[in-house]
């Protein structure tokens, strides 16, 4: 009796605190699975940022640090510099990375810090109850853009991966999603490659993962997957932005 699929050893036994159908959970599984498959758990230190994923320090089955809002990449830099042979990853949402933490993230990338950033973009602030995020779409209604996001007032959805593609220190950068098994397989490939590039000390690696927020979008979980595909992907195209070299087996 071969087990085809089971809970990853890369995750602890704690129940996830995410809302029903939130795809944060899927991203957690992929990160856990990659760390297990690459045999990296004993060497890994993960950084939980502030947002829905703040409790991820209870979910990843490796040493963790919880960073102040927006500062995960600085904390990661601090660790990586003193533990250059350990594997360091940050797990951040769009509020943490693209709003308050954009400077720390850009400069970690610009220094080519050998860390892996898991960037979960769900176009809203989830933990605090559905406020507008830098990645919220034009017209998207949130608790702080009740009439919909307006370009002149709120600016447009920020294209993080497109921006980071211009930074030399970036060794691997891809935007993926997890709305179907096929997308999930591709997302896992991207995350695994990002960790492998870190192992090879190639520099800064980041995977931007378009993710759902059923509760704050006000859309059922299954329908949220469709909403993401129809509304977010056109604004945030799925694409391999940067890959500094063929991955030699």
């Amino acid at each position: 009796m071969a087990v085809k699929y089971q809970k990853s050893a890369g995750l602890t036994d704690n129940a996830l605190t995410y809302c029903p159908g939130c795809t944060h959970g899927i991203v957690h599984k992929l990160v856990g699975e990659c760390l297990v498959e690459l045999g990296l758990l004993p060497d890994t230190i993960g950084i939980a940022s502030v947002g829905c994923s703040v409790f991820s320090y209870d979910f990843f089955n490796c040493d963790m640090q919880q960073a102040p809002h927006g500062r995960a990449c600085a904390v990661a830099t601090g660790i990586k510099r003193v533990l250059p042979d350990n594997i360091i990853f940050t797990y951040q949402g769009d509020g943490d990375l693209a709003s308050i933490g954009i400077a720390e993230t850009i400069h970690a990338a610009n220094r080519g810090e050998n860390i892996t950033v898991i960037f979960v973009n769900n176009a809203i602030y989830g933990m605090t109850g559905g406020q507008m995020a830098p990645t919220s779409l034009i017209g998207q209604k949130t608790t702080t853009s009740p009439f919909g996001r307006v370009l002149q007032q709120h600016g447009s959805p920020i294209k993080v991966s497109e921006m980071f593609a211009t930074i030399d220190g970036v060794a691997y950068l891809e935007r993926v999603t997890v709305t179907t098994p096929k997308h999930i397989r591709n997302a896992k490939k991207a995350i695994k490659k990002a960790f492998q590039y870190q192992q090879e000390k190639r520099g800064f690696t980041m995977v931007e993962i378009l993710s759902t927020c059923p509760v704050n979008w006000g859309i059922k979980p299954v329908d949220s997957l469709k909403w993401l595909e129809e509304h977010m992907i056109p604004v945030f195209p799925l694409k391999l932005f940067k890959d500094t070299g063929e991955f030699h087996e």
């Binding site: 939980a48 904390v75 601090g78 533990l83």
Partner: protein, 355 residues
């Protein structure tokens, strides 16, 4: 051991390394630039870690990470930069992480100026971060004392798992004095850092560094544990110096650069037949209240003197507890008082207290 002539800021850098510093994360700001400049060369030559961060906010968070990974780590900055670090410092105390923070004070508020000041006493001892926390704060008076305290600060930080701040000002940072780099420091038993996040292969179980306690009872218990730690700090790390207290008619309370000026003023006052003592706090937090027990009961008054408009004054009033009249003299904004001004301040204070 032969003495070496060193600039304050550079002595701070070297002393930190002699104290076992593994990593420095900082950002340029006058008047402390020589610290990162010196260490940017020294740390690389001794294959330790040096990073000039993109901001003081990033720098203190790098410190958080490296400290959480079990390393000896420091940052340095000046007044506005220390203001930016307050959130990080609060997190570091909440997560019980050891580190050294050097603050080279300059005139404020806001961008202020770059001349020496002591107007960050509140910032250092009351903290600008959130929560019931304390940073252990030392204020040396000479470059020698700065070196000795910094060398010991990493042991103190590790022992209590708490940040230590060494507070100097632009004058101490910029001047040169001859110093002995090899004075031995106090031996302390330092438990192994089995809590550090350096990978599960290096320890049993899973280590987590965090200051988050969403359950209020757990958070309160955590705070009570921190307070118990702070009581130990008060008991063991309070430091001060009392000078010329026996037949004193007045006592001046002053620290750092200010106390150097007061020492000269005591001589001038003695020639004028006014015997004045000096209480020099070396630890600002914990504030040396017991030094006030050494004040002769018949003195006419206590004069608090600072390079600010009166911040340590609060602690002096608390320690004095209404026993003696308390006066204040201070210059701020980067103005450094002359010896003569301190002498006149005592004479003016004399008129107010002697009916």
């Amino acid at each position: 051991m032969p003495k070496v002539l060193m600039k304050g800021n550079e002595a701070i850098g070297l002393a930190a390394v002699l104290g076992g510093c593994d990593a420095f994360y900082g950002y340029p700001i006058t008047p402390q630039n020589e610290i990162p400049e010196y260490l940017s060369k020294y740390m690389i030559e001794h294959n330790k870690v040096f990073v000039q961060a993109e901001s003081e906010v990033a720098a203190i968070n790098m410190v958080y990470g490296a400290a959480g990974a079990g390393k000896r780590v420091m940052t340095s900055s000046s007044s506005p930069g220390i203001a930016l670090k307050q959130e990080g410092i609060s997190y570091i105390t909440g997560a019980e992480l050891p580190c050294l923070i050097v603050s080279v004070m300059r005139g404020g508020p806001g961008l202020g100026g770059i001349q020496p000041s002591q107007a960050d006493y509140y910032q250092a001892t009351r903290g600008g971060g959130n929560g019931d926390y304390h940073v252990i704060v030392f204020a040396p008076e000479t470059i020698q004392e700065t070196i000795d305290i910094i060398k010991e600060s990493f042991d103190i930080a590790d022992y209590y798992r708490n940040p230590v701040m060494v507070l100097v000002d632009g004058l101490l940072g910029q001047m040169m004095e001859s110093v002995d780099l090899n004075k031995p420091i106090k031996k302390r038993f330092l438990p192994p850092k089995d809590w550090a996040t350096n990978g599960m292969k290096n320890h049993s179980g899973r280590n987590v560094v965090s200051s988050l306690n969403i359950d209020p009872q757990k958070l309160e218990n955590h705070n009570l544990k921190l307070q118990a730690k702070y009581q130990n700090v008060i008991k063991n790390e309070t430091r001060f110096e009392c000078i010329n207290m026996e037949k004193a008619e007045y006592v001046i309370v002053a620290y750092g650069t200010m106390s150097r000026i007061v020492r000269s003023a005591l001589e001038v006052l003695k020639e004028k037949g006014i015997n004045v003592g000096l209480i020099r706090p070396i630890s600002l937090w914990p504030f040396p209240k017991e030094a006030f027990k050494q004040i002769p009961s018949n003195i006419k008054g206590i004069l608090c003197t600072e390079m600010s408009l009166g911040q340590m004054l609060d602690d002096v009033l608390i320690a004095n507890n209404g026993k003696h009249p308390v006066g204040f003299f201070g210059r701020t904004g980067g103005m450094i008082p002359e010896v003569e001004e301190v002498v006149r301040a005592i004479e003016r204070f004399q008129e107010t207290v002697v009916k």
